[in-house]
Amino acid sequence: MQIALYGLMCVLLIPFVFPTWWMLTSSVKPISDIFAFPPDLWPRRFDWTTYAKVFELQPFGQQYWNSAYIAAIVTAGTMIFSSMAGYAFARIKFPGSNFLFTVVLLGLLIPSEVTIVPLFQMFLGWGMINTHWPLILVPIFGAPSVFATFVMRQFFIALPGELEEAARVDGLGRFKIFWIIALPLAKPALGAVAIFTFLHSWNLYLEPIVFISSRNMFTLPQALTQFTDAYGGAMWNIQMAAATMTALPVLAVFIIAQKQFVEGLAHTGLKG
């Protein structure tokens, strides 16, 4: 019975892990072996120059930096703004808070795909086309951050109020209560918000191809599709090398921290 279960799971695993294996091995195959028949599970010859070529064909280091710093700013900004708003909507009584919460929640119904045309016009008017501003501002305030605000609010609502009351008696102001008492308790929710915000920014594709037009400003998802020869044919081994460099660091972080990763997402996602 146990062996049957292991067997079933191993078969089911193939489409989940084989693409990553194929990406890694194909990234070091010479172009002549890339469509070899029968397919090679292990490269018959190694060509490590594919990795150098990635940097020759594109300003890949610059593009890597673009994606990394944009994702860092979006993640930090979303964590700050969504935890502040989530805390206020959950714990502070102020006139109109329910109405304002409804206004923010409306953002969940409006993915940026719906508003991409006016967003393009707005950023065009502000002279921000072919800059990274749209890739930072739209995610920080759009649907993903609204979801983050919702998640943080649900978390703060469930916190017991005694600690805050004690802090108030001691004369702490709202900001200090938020910063010193509530926020440290919210680490699991913040962790989940950080993970899905980072992945969202890291994967963004429609916004970059609408807003960004010069190679030096490209983000990784955009850059990955650019490794083609003079006839528009894909240079598969170089593309796989670029894909490997894009995928591997995040995958490594995930495998090291997978427990916090998975459990954080599970516990936050459940409280919908």
Binding site: L5, L8, P15, F16, P19, T20, W22, F35, F37, P38, P39, F81, A85, Y87, F89, F94, S97, L100, V103, V104, L106, G107, L108, P111, E113, V114, T115, I116, P118, L119, Q121, M122, F141, S145, V146, V169, G173, N203, Y205, L206, V210, P221, L224, T225, M240, A243, T246, A247, V250, F254, Q258, K259, F261, V262, L265, A266, H267, G269, L270, G272
Partner: protein, 304 residues
Amino acid sequence: MTTATTPRKRPFWTIERRDAIAGYTFVAPQLIGTVVFVLIPLGLVFWYSLHEWNVLANSFNFVGDANYQLLLRDPQLPRVLTASAIFSAGLAVLNMSLALLLAVLLDQKLRGIVVFRTLFFSPVVVSLVAWTIVWSFLLQNNGGINGFLQMIGIQGPNWLREPGTAMVSVIVVQVFKNVGLNMILFLAALQGVPKELYEAARVDGASAWKQFRRITVPMISPTILLTSIITIVGSLQVFAQIAVLTQGGPGVSTTVLVYYLYQQAFQFHYFGYGSTLSILLFLIVAVLTFVQWQLRKRIVFYEN
């Protein structure tokens, strides 16, 4: 606490007033950001949809409901909506059932189960375009998948270039990418079902399948509904996968609504008609979300 020592003279800065200031300050960045980058653009997209606007010709004329008339007559639109419906329905059904199967398997008490959980989840953290490009490479006519099929004597189709298989490919690539998320949510829900229920059922002689149908499914139905909302609304936003794998083809067989809207607005420069398509997308998302929240009230058996 100044109020306690001087009870007759209430200070201007009462707790209520301070809280109000703090509350507005705390929500201000998110609120203003959402208004500027989400709600105002939604208003603008409706305004644009009432105009004939060709960026190249630099024309912007009020035309009333002409774009909506065009929407009804657009011969491509039924095919685009069909493609969207097939994609979303196929994705939701495959994703939810595979996620549930994997969650049930991962819920077994087996050695090394965490390794399996990690591996099934791993595509979620792989860059979306990297994942899609690798599958595009695998699905080429002379690519890896057809190579392996040929080894066992099967002539595989040209997956991304034939109408039937192109749609299946796009769905399957997306399912394997993201099913790990729903799997984890289901797994957490399964682990929250009280074990006594199963023991009682076993005493009554209920089969494993009956236990699954009568205990597991009702107990995790809130999670099933929540994840189905997220999955279907998410599936309507699919863009990168289509752009990388098929560019909407062959023909328009994989041109989903977002991809069509992108083509109309940013490839053909019809901003007015593109905005009309945006309104259609918004209405579909809104109606689906509303219907599912209504269903949530009716059919969910158990909610904590």
